[in-house]
Symmetry: C2
DNA sequence: CCTCCTTGTGGAATCGATTACACGACTTCG
DNA sequence: CGAAGTCGTGTAATCGATTCCACAAGGAGG
């Protein structure tokens, strides 16, 4: 592969001049410029990003560590992140943690070793020493979707409280009184918050959330299946199950189906995170939709702000309820929204 | 961030010795080794991958350019690619082309600039000059899923011919005679092949595939919707629609639903590419399943073979038919398989 | 006509690693 | 006891870019 030296030789100038042309530095004569450009063209020269990064200490690259690529929510997030980053002149390297802290650490380490300019993380746990060290060392970082309490890093996320209240109102209006939740891992903020929001909303209707109605999931389909089976085995099973993410809702649907039961007649179902497929499931699933694209874009902008020396604030965008048929027929369905 | 010089100073040795310890070169005394290791620990030193890559001309990184991250098929492919690559000591940088040749070129260029060790591509078109130049220049490359005819690059893909035959047999057995297809872009091999396989299979039953029954899609949901509407507007609409990928099937389902029609009673539906959600749609969708994980792993192994100087062969794995209910009730359903 | 800028250019240092080569200190063996 | 290895280490070149500094040429101004 041709290097800057080859170009310099071909154009009959020094490497310094070639570099100046490439970075359009003002003090280059028109003549030298055309000769260099011609040489670049002739040799098909492309600057070596590795060498450039070493010298300038900038990679123009962002790291994105997400909890699970197979989750359509995170896929969409990743896509919007890459799009916005590209618009701002950055590339993105994605690390998939698969909800495993060890894999998360692997990717964070890898990205730091590559000297990415900044890191976007949706932490799967309370924060490994590695990540905390990186924050302390001043690595530009932004949390997206989930965060780690007590760490001075901007957070870009959706607030589901109002939407969860709307959901509970919807369920209550349909006559449901025994409501259960499939929670996410307690180590994640989204795991905890969604349970808290649900409990608060129930309280407003004088309803309780007994421990038996809180199933411990891990944001994966299999746990949704397992927890739902537990619910169905209860002496008094719930009338509704609210899954804290879309994959666990899928698992719940499986479990209900496997027993020959029907949604919503035998068990109603709602989910956090709306995805295109929920329109086509049998029945279509009522869900709380996050403004995923906006979150991704806001997160990138915040991170780039940090990289360029500004001090971005956290961003919280509202989620909204999308009513479908999985909780029972609504005589005259209304699309509820909090925005 | 601490550099190798800091470590050398801290340990009281030269940078050469530090480097030797880090790359466990044999000729280092036990004493020097422990001192270096202690210094590394004390400083929290991590080698700069950028500098290392510049010197060694190896990045231990693979590029993966896929056609559409939002397509669950490619998401799963990306995941298995990353997994296998990690097992072999490589990282992966993913570029999402969104079925756009210009974006594909952007990512290929970006990845080449970063001096990735090898490139995995699922081309969205017939091959830009950029990609062809890269091949000619000797960049290790492997095509996955789709390929570019006439280019000397190993291909890792699934063969759907037998499965399409099984599908047509299944449809014929259910009494369907007017079969239509939503094709992918003609510029992609998968776009062409699936139509050809479908036509051949129909021929075996004495059925034709009239032009009116070949809809031109682009592997995106919206095109599936549009094409299906066209089919339904025909004086003699088809009885079955076979979508060449899962997103177009989703669009087709939308279109049917929007007219108040039902699957499979009014229009039967089948898709290429099986995904977990197809179990839960209404009705569950009959699909041709690719061994996606195996494809991803085989592609990585082939690419690493090329990088390490061997000459890997192309790999073709069989796809298989998974019968569900979207084509009509089968009196006694059998899972057909070609393997 | 001499100084002082301005402009364009090249030489060389630098980023942080790897590695060829030289060298000193020991061992070993004839 | 001297020659020939072996072993561990350091010096310095190198990868491909960017950029500071020096300098030459030419124009402007006193």
């Amino acid at each position: 592969m041709a290097s800057i030296k080859d170009v310099a030789a071909e154009a009959g100038v020094s490497v310094a001049t070639v570099s100046r042309v490439l970075n359009d530095h003002p003090s280059v004569s028109a003549d030298a410029r055309t000769r260099v450009l011609a040489a670049v063209e002739a040799l098909g020269y492309r600057p070596n990003a590795v060498a450039r990064s070493l010298r300038t200490d900038q990679t123009h690259t962002l790291g994105l560590v997400i909890s699970d690529v197979l989750n359509p929510y995170f896929t969409e997030l990743a896509r919007s992140v890459e799009e916005e980053a590209r618009a701002l002149g950055y590339s993105v390297i994605i690390g998939n943690a698969d909800e495993r802290p060890d894999l998360q650490d692997h990717h964070v380490r890898n990205l730091l070793d590559r000297r990415i300019d900044g890191l976007l993380v949706s932490p799967t746990d309370g924060g490994s020493p590695l990540m905390l060290d990186a924050v302390r060392a001043g690595t530009p970082m932004v949390f997206v979707d989930r965060w780690i309490p007590g760490v001075a890093v901007p957070v870009v996320r959706a607030d589901g409280q109002a939407a969860v209240r709307d959901l509970v109102a919807h369920l209550h209006g349909l006559g449901h009184r025994r409501l259960a939740i499939i929670a996410g891992p307690a180590a994640t903020t989204t795991g905890q918050e969604r349970v808290a929001a649900f409990r608060d909303a129930l309280e407003a209707y004088g309803l309780e959330l007994p421990d038996a109605y809180i199933g411990q999931g891990d944001f994966q389909a299999e746990s949704g299946r397992r927890v739902t089976e537990g619910f169905l085995d209860l002496p008094e099973p719930p009338e509704v199950v609210f899954a804290a993410d879309n994959l666990m809702a899928l698992g719940a649907l499986d479990a209900v189906r496997a027993r020959g039961l029907r949604v919503p007649e035998d068990l109603a179902l709602a989910a956090f995170d709306d995805i295109p497929w929920f329109v086509h499931t049998d029945p279509p699933i009522t869900a709380i939709a996050q403004p995923t694209g906006d979150l991704g874009r806001a997160a990138v902008r915040a991170l780039v702000d940090r990289i360029e020396g500004r001090r971005p604030a956290s961003v919280t965008l509202p989620a909204r309820l999308v009513v479908r048929r999985s909780c029972g027929e609504n005589p005259n369905p209304v699309q509820r929204s909090t925005s």
